[in-house]
Symmetry: C2
Subunit: 341 residues, 2 copies
DNA sequence: TTGTAAGCGTTATCAC
DNA sequence: GTGATAACGCTTACAA
């Protein structure tokens, strides 16, 4: 229980151990060219005095902050916070701190690339955010390393799944059960900034086309990767003159919304409508949702690791890491009960 | 697109606007004693040069970091991230940054009160974490303001719900439907650090005792406020010789796990077992879970606001803010189908 | 192997 | 109302 006031500085440790502050700095950071006996003495002093280097001073002198920033479109989505959990665990183990930003407006977006953020963090992990060339350049020139989760990029490393394949797995599964009229919930409305939905739509179309079916754009309905979005999209699809017998939702949360809309109409899943999601959300097992599984936490831990690697070797080349996926069959998909029309 | 290298400093702005750095600092921070014309000129220069003060330098000189840290037991819980969303929104609006820590080990806990964290943040928001006297003292002497969400405290402000009342509402509802044998899922196993479960158990017992029923400890089963915890607790309760006809789960996530366990046994909700949760999770409406609603995001925004208030007036007294609650009746509760034994 | 000292970019305390 | 200038606590050449 220290008294209020000035805290222990490197100078205190230097005095206590009878060496200069420079030596203390070297000793404590494990730099070479320090006599073992000296290092030991310094460490002992630091420990006894409960010394902790001031991060702001270190940042000012060295330019490095041992902090990484993470930017997500929102904080109330399961996916984003799950990624964050993966990021945090790896960062903490490496002695880095995590700064979190929700990028939900243009001003927030500007703050990410221009504002003081670039001086506060050595690296930036963006999730489901697509950087413009200017934004990338600004970050690069400020010396901020970037790793992207969700969206690919040529200028920095990224971790994502093969989104076309994700959709193909889902739709192939539905087709194999006999479905021919398959709805799509979730191709989103912001293609400028985020291309996951577009890739998944491509995968969806690929399978239909390969099977010789014509793509009916009426069956593709935007949704916000959220429960509400899924409900809205499904409501629309089910009101069609010729409604789908199955719906591929672009996330499990979207799928939950779809299921809700189905139930609200007095229909049953999967008897009347089959549903497939993506993620393998914690609740999917509870409600028996068939889904395309991906380890979301791993997205985060891999991203953090790629970033840390980049810190130790800035010359390392940008990689595109693909997380594995798998179809998990549960109870929301079955053969269509009736052949319609 | 600036070139790589040194960024714009206060000196550059000073040169550009023809005043000293001291004046620039004053002008830009809105301090008094600056001629309006000067201030305008400085602001114009800063804008044009795209100047942003270095947070580390400011922190070093002023002692304030315009950053707050948030510590949660884990990042993969809906509750915590929802609180975080509320915190982030308020902080961002006030120009503060958010540092996130998962406190899932003793070393993480130590880092929170001793390590460099205290030099990185002006304030700390803890969620469902109970500080020891020593920890509180350490934080206080380091000048870090604390606000607690979930756990109350005498030394700093807190925001929470009336947890006894939460449980009472839930159990009274069950009793009014005719249930007499009511299970409790979730009183946790870490009473040293977190007293929400204990208060909820008190509320649960209060209602039973008021009704003249005897409390059967066999019906009280720990659970980790998670889906898995709920399943485990429910499995145990349902295997009792005289199983409950209803279960009060301490969170919606716990309730989902309870429901799963009920279904796994071939039983139905609510026909065989009624279930009530707490939170009003986004998915509760989807599955029709009866619950005690609380605005979780608001927990976070209120906490952040209390902290910011404390920054402007450190002498402000510690308050205990109680967030409102309400019973939301849905489809998981009904009268017990059979009067047992 | 160790010490000296010059920064790093601000803020704050004085004078003026 | 404005300007010097001394901190703030550390890192890092450069010397020794």
């Amino acid at each position: 229980m220290t008294s209020v006031g000035r805290s222990v500085t490197i100078q205190d440790v230097a005095n206590d151990s009878g060496v200069s502050v420079a030596t203390v700095s070297r000793a404590l950071r494990g730099l070479p060219n320090v006599a073992p006996s000296t290092r030991e003495r310094v460490q002992e002093s630091a420990e006894r005095l409960d010394y902790h280097p001031d991060p702001a001073a270190a940042r000012l002198a060295s330019g490095r902050s041992r902090t990484v920033a993470m930017a997500v479109p929102s904080l109330d989505s399961w996916y984003f916070t799950q990624v964050m959990a993966g990021v945090e665990a790896v960062l903490t183990a490496a002695g880095y701190d995590l700064l979190v930003f929700a990028i939900d407006s243009d001003s927030a977006r500007r703050r990410m690339t221009q504002g003081p953020l670039v001086k506060r963090a050595d690296g930036l992990i963006i999730v489901n955010i697509k950087l413009s060339a200017d934004e990338s350049a600004a970050l690069a020139s400020a010396g901020v390393k970037v790793v992207s989760v969700g969206a690919a990029s040529d200028s920095f490393s990224s971790v994502r799944v093969d989104d076309e394949r994700v959709a193909e797995l889902a739709v192939e599964h539905l087709m194999s059960l006999g479905h021919r009229r398959i709805g799509l919930a979730g191709h989103g409305d912001d293609p400028m900034k985020f291309d996951v939905p577009l890739d998944r739509r491509s995968g969806y179309r690929n399978v239909l086309e390969r099977a010789g079916l014509t793509v009916d754009e009426e069956l593709e309905r935007g949704a916000g990767f959220s429960v509400a979005g899924g409900s809205e999209a499904a409501a629309h699809l089910l009101d069609l003159d010729d409604p789908p017998t199955a719906i591929f939702a672009m996330s499990d949360e979207t799928a939950f919304g779809v299921m809700r809309a189905v139930w609200d109409r007095g229909l049953r899943v999967p008897e009347d409508v089959s549903v497939v999601g993506v993620d393998d959300h914690e609740f999917s097992a509870v409600v028996g949702l068939t889904t395309i599984r991906q380890d979301v936490t791993e997205h985060g831990s891999v991203a953090a690791r790629l970033l840390l690697d980049r810190f130790v070797d800035p010359a390392i080349e940008a990689t595109k890491y693909a997380v594995p996926i798998a179809l998990i069959e549960r109870k929301t998909t079955s053969a269509p009960a009736v052949i319609r029309h």
